[in-house]
């Protein structure tokens, strides 16, 4: 079977995959990084968003072999030194979740937004979240959390 190697959350990993193995399957089933969720499996809901070479992508619609040689960051890779990432902290503070299923993807997507645009307005945040679907909270607190994280991360 083909082998893939990549850096996941700062750690070099290698594994055997089939041609059809999706990146999200590799992360969840081989690396046991189950924080990345599979929601719709049709690249619409965004629960599976991770970063590949710094860009947010839907890991249910990327083959593991397409990510060969890349640097991948999952929700497990955001916290550092035992402390939550400011985006995670903001989601907790503003209750930007209800059931929590979409949250890993929301957080990863929002971090990518702030990397590109540190000061987004509400409209830009809502537009950016086009690819992330939440069926509980109606987005209001998610948007609030991202605005708050943006403020905190700008310092």
């Amino acid at each position: 079977m083909p082998t893939v190697s990549m850096t996941v959350n700062g750690r070099a990993v290698t594994g055997e995959v089939e041609g059809r193995t999706l990146l999200v399957q590799f992360l969840r089933e081989q690396l046991s990084l189950t924080g990345t969720h599979v929601g719709c499996d049709t690249s619409q809901c965004g629960a599976c968003v991770v970063h590949v070479d710094g860009e947010s992508i839907k890991s249910c619609t990327m083959l593991a072999q397409q990510a060969d040689g890349t640097e991948v960051t999952t929700i497990e890779g955001l916290a550092s030194n035992g402390g939550l990432h400011p985006m995670q902290e903001a989601f907790r503070e503003h209750h930007g979740l209800q059931c929590g299923f979409c949250t890993p993807g929301m957080v990863m997507s929002a971090v990518d937004l702030l990397n590109k645009n540190p000061n987004p307005d509400e409209g830009e945040i809502r537009e950016w979240l086009e690819g992330n679907i939440c069926r509980c909270t109606g987005y209001h607190n998610i948007v609030k959390a991202i605005q708050s994280a943006a403020e905190n991360m700008r310092g």
Partner: protein, 264 residues
């Protein structure tokens, strides 16, 4: 998804050999349509030839009076590129409106046009701007490239390498997006420049088409007023759960006026 052999060649020639050596090989670009298609078992190729590791297929440059976009350049890269924004802002605007942020980070111009989805945005850009598709074998004018629903002039195993867009004097793109997918229910590109005055419509019919009545009406200047009375017949337009053909016919006029206003 059925299994397949995955190839990740480092050059266009190696990709062409991998394709010709496969029983039923398919090209994998960004995968935004192909991977969902494989998951649904609507296709089951023996081999996928992934173009993701071929550096020469990525990137944007200026060449004479044209902006040349490598086939594996993502929609996000086109949307934020300084040259595209300066020379053809309507193209950057179009790329920024495709799908969602994560789709734009993976989906590529080459993959989009090779697939030729009737509701895709890029076919309107290529036909409206009078672009040329470059492949590993030849150059194909956009007018000859899109031949029907999900059909193109590409031969089996032919690989798109880049798209050259002549820099227009004016161009504007407007679309009425499906609120769920952001595919165009109707999208219209209006442009005037070295390729003449051109109007291309996507989403409305089975394949992108030019609207000659609108092109004549815009001949003496680009404005929304000039095309206020241009209409298309509903016959032959797409009709589905999102919009009837009559509704799409009306949208063509509305998007045409908006695109002309954006270009003017």
């Amino acid at each position: 998804m059925y299994d397949f052999n995955h190839h990740r060649p480092g050059s266009i020639d190696a990709a062409a050999s991998a394709l010709s050596g496969a029983d039923d090989g398919k090209i994998l670009a960004g995968g935004m349509t192909l991977i969902p298609t494989l998951k649904q078992r609507l296709a089951s190729p023996s081999d996928l030839v992934d173009l993701g590791a071929i550096g020469e297929l990525k990137g944007i440059c200026e060449e004479g009076g044209a902006v040349v976009v490598g086939a594996m350049t993502t929609h996000a890269a086109v949307a934020k590129d300084a040259t595209v924004k300066a020379k053809i802002p309507a193209l950057a605007h179009l790329a920024e409106g495709i799908g969602d942020a994560q789709v734009r980070n993976c989906g590529t111009i080459g993959g989009s046009i090779a697939n030729n989805d009737p509701a895709a945005d890029y076919p309107a850009a290529l036909v409206g701007l009078g672009a040329t598709v470059r492949t590993n074998k030849r150059e194909i004018a956009a007018d000859d490239f899109f031949t029907g629903m999900f059909e193109t002039a590409l031969d089996d195993g032919e690989i798109i390498t880049a798209v050259a867009f002549p820099v227009p004097e004016k161009a504007g793109y407007a679309k009425f997006a499906n609120p769920a997918s952001r595919y165009a229910i109707v999208g219209v590109m209006v442009a005037t420049g070295p390729a003449g005055t051109r109007v291309a419509v996507t989403g409305a019919g089975p394949c992108v088409f030019r609207l000659s009545d609108a092109e004549s009406a815009l001949g003496s200047g680009i404005s929304a007023d000039a095309v206020a009375n241009v209409s298309v017949a509903a016959d032959g337009l797409n009709s589905d759960l999102h919009a009837s053909s009559e509704y799409r016919a009306n949208l063509v006029n509305v998007m045409l006026r908006r695109a002309a206003a954006a270009a003017g």
